[in-house]
Symmetry: C2
Subunit: 343 residues, 2 copies
Amino acid sequence: MAVKSLNDAVAMQDIARRAGVCKATVSRALNNPQRVSAKTRDKVLEVVAELGYTPNKLASSLRQGRSKHIAVMLPDITNPYFAPVVRSIEQTAMRRGYSVILNDTQDNPDLERTFAAMVHTRQVDGIITNSARIPFDLASVGGDVRRLPPIVNASEFCDLPEIIKVGVNNYQIGKQATEHLLNLGHTRIAALAGPGGLDSSDQRMRGFTDALQQQQLTVNTNWVYHGDYSMASGDLGARALMQWRERPTAIFCFGDLAAFGALHALRELGYQVPQDISVISVDGIALGEYTSPPLTTVAQPLEQIGSTAATLLIDLIEGERPPSNENVLAHRLIIRKSTGKPA
Amino acid sequence: MAVKSLNDAVAMQDIARRAGVCKATVSRALNNPQRVSAKTRDKVLEVVAELGYTPNKLASSLRQGRSKHIAVMLPDITNPYFAPVVRSIEQTAMRRGYSVILNDTQDNPDLERTFAAMVHTRQVDGIITNSARIPFDLASVGGDVRRLPPIVNASEFCDLPEIIKVGVNNYQIGKQATEHLLNLGHTRIAALAGPGGLDSSDQRMRGFTDALQQQQLTVNTNWVYHGDYSMASGDLGARALMQWRERPTAIFCFGDLAAFGALHALRELGYQVPQDISVISVDGIALGEYTSPPLTTVAQPLEQIGSTAATLLIDLIEGERPPSNENVLAHRLIIRKSTGKPA
DNA sequence: ATAAAGAATGTAACCCATTTCATCAAACCA
DNA sequence: TGGTTTGATGAAATGGGTTACATTCTTTAT
């Protein structure tokens, strides 16, 4: 049945025998070289090289009670927003000696829970999640959040204050994106928002509303469409927003993908961007540079979100609490060709 | 230092004690329920539920000599081509009880090797790689490929016949893409190829050449540009191709990303697609539906590549050799708006 | 020179589940 | 009814490291 892994044979005991020392010494020579005499160390390392020995990390993990694996949960790896985050997590983790186990939850709570169980089975030392749902069964920790295993919440926030979070200031993002449009002279601005109730979307909406109000403008509810950040919903949303008798001159998309969909719809409907209508969005994914027209967007520091999340999580695993639970990283408005003065 | 995981305490021994049986019986009750009397089984399961026991998978893996982890190596998770493949691998693996360890090698042989080393120490049961480089130090296995852990080579092929491969017929893809352009009446066709020497690119180029020759056309070397499949190289390549006095009326991009770059360049240069120039490409990534204009492309069955690769690998791990080492999946021409008759 | 401190190494327990082998009881057969 | 097969369970070895503790060999200090 199960094929036995191959170059097993050689274990620590074999090295020990051949080097004329005991297992413990081999272990020390490998992990705490300074705790072993130079002579012994050299001899051990020589035998290790000779026999091509690689320590079995499972055994080590079992004994030490930590696997040096971290899990990354995200709703959809296919989303270009997440890919750079994951890549950066992976790089950071690898540098610190951790491997990344990937889990695409498809935003399915059941899958999230299944995966979360991995923490209990000791397969992973901690989790980075991009979901607002923290899937751990609170009951199992007696309702005490502090007893949860290390978790870092990236990009999208849950409402447990005890959980460490890393992301951007979505309120400011919403405000700045809107202000960019206002500064260009737009007054009829639509919002192609994300799901209501989702923190990132709600915050951006607040920023949107406040920015308008500072110019004595109010939100036209006809011009607010709640999608799900996807291209398809951006397409649909843009069509919905443009159907009204009184049309907006600018659309603030709450995500780049939705903006791609919107650009597509607007083109099909025969509008020129930005001549007929401006489009701005949020995220700063790489594709935005190549759309037609290239997309003006408030970029999130995706790599930095990933590396920060990984660093915080690993610090946490290794016993170092971060100074703050809220880690807000800087966003950046990138002005390209999809926004302009209103006609 | 290292924080001890929390609800440790409860191990199999605890269940055993509490249920009045021995560890072995608990293990059997959990893994081979039919090998235990109904009464004992119920009692054990009851105690398991009561104490909230979850088996330590590290221990189990150590004992059984298999970790139920598979590693996925790919050059860049940020590439929209790979994301669906990875997602599909992950889903398939999860369904079969395996976790996926992700490694973004950035096409860096050193990183690949580093990671490959991990495979030994982490006791990863198998590997799916999207690189033509099989990074395992052959010396370490005495030059004997059969001693490598199970590997499946997806998308991009190495030249070891012993390695299982899953992917598409790139020659046919190249041919069909070209034929589509020929059928529309194009005779001046450029190729925005991938790196020379890379199997996928070379095969598509063969298909391209053969399709042209069947129409008594020859390849104009001015109209062949070798990029690296990236958007940036597509942009550059398109500009290079359009600089000649005699210009092509169609460009065959060897990858969707390059096509995005090409569309961007063509737009900037003032060409209308497809009125002035047609663009076709390969991959069928989701974004292609939303470009301007939507991209005609030969789609690869990305999900299927992933699921097939995962299935083959896990079968292999569990001792089942596939009928063939070459698993070629069907591609599909998707005609959208980026190709048309020549002016 | 010698006790005390320190460094190097060995012994054995430990992490926790799986699995072989032995044991014992119940069911089956002639 | 004695002998055998079958089924349930337990004892103990196992996988491969790590580490607390014990022991031995050096140094250093007096």
